[in-house]
Amino acid sequence: MDNVFLFSSVYLALLMILSLYRGIFGPTVADRMIGVNAIGSKTTVVLILIGLMYHRLDMFVDIALAYALLNFIAVLAASRYFQKCKGLYDES
């Protein structure tokens, strides 16, 4: 069962690298926020997988909960900040 968790987390890391494309090359700032939000919601699952692999779930579940909260706060603060600035228009 450890192999299933290991391959799942490697595959999720691959998906995170691919969705970093939208975070780097997105045409507007909002596209970048979408990419970062997708990475953060995958990271909570990866943290629980790491906790099950190392048999220390009681520690990693707290880290995953805090990471979910932090991801939500970061996206909310960034979107509230960029709607007052003019940075959301097309940069190209």
């Binding site: 069962m1 969705s19 979408i34 990419g35 939000n37 997988l49 909960l65 960029f82 709607q83």
Partner: protein
Amino acid sequence: MNIIVSLLLLAALFFFTAGLIGILRFPDFYSRLHPAGKLDALGVLLGMTALGLYNFNDFSLGTLINGFKILLIVVFVFLASPTATHAIVDAGVRAGLTPWVKGDERR
């Protein structure tokens, strides 16, 4: 038990992959929010269900607390993911991004 956990985890990976393809391939900012908002929440639900079930292999007070915290993560993601999506689309509307119509070039 292991087969159920593996199938749920595989379904979660499938939904994450579908959301990623939607984020990468859709032509517009507003249409990209659609897979990003829905499929990530569904992937988190299925993955957390699988890992919470595997957590209850040996039943004790510690695993019960861990299962409760995993349930708390799922409830929080189901509250927070639509809120974050709505905040992003609100920022886009207020900044004046125009939606993509048929015939425009892909952005």
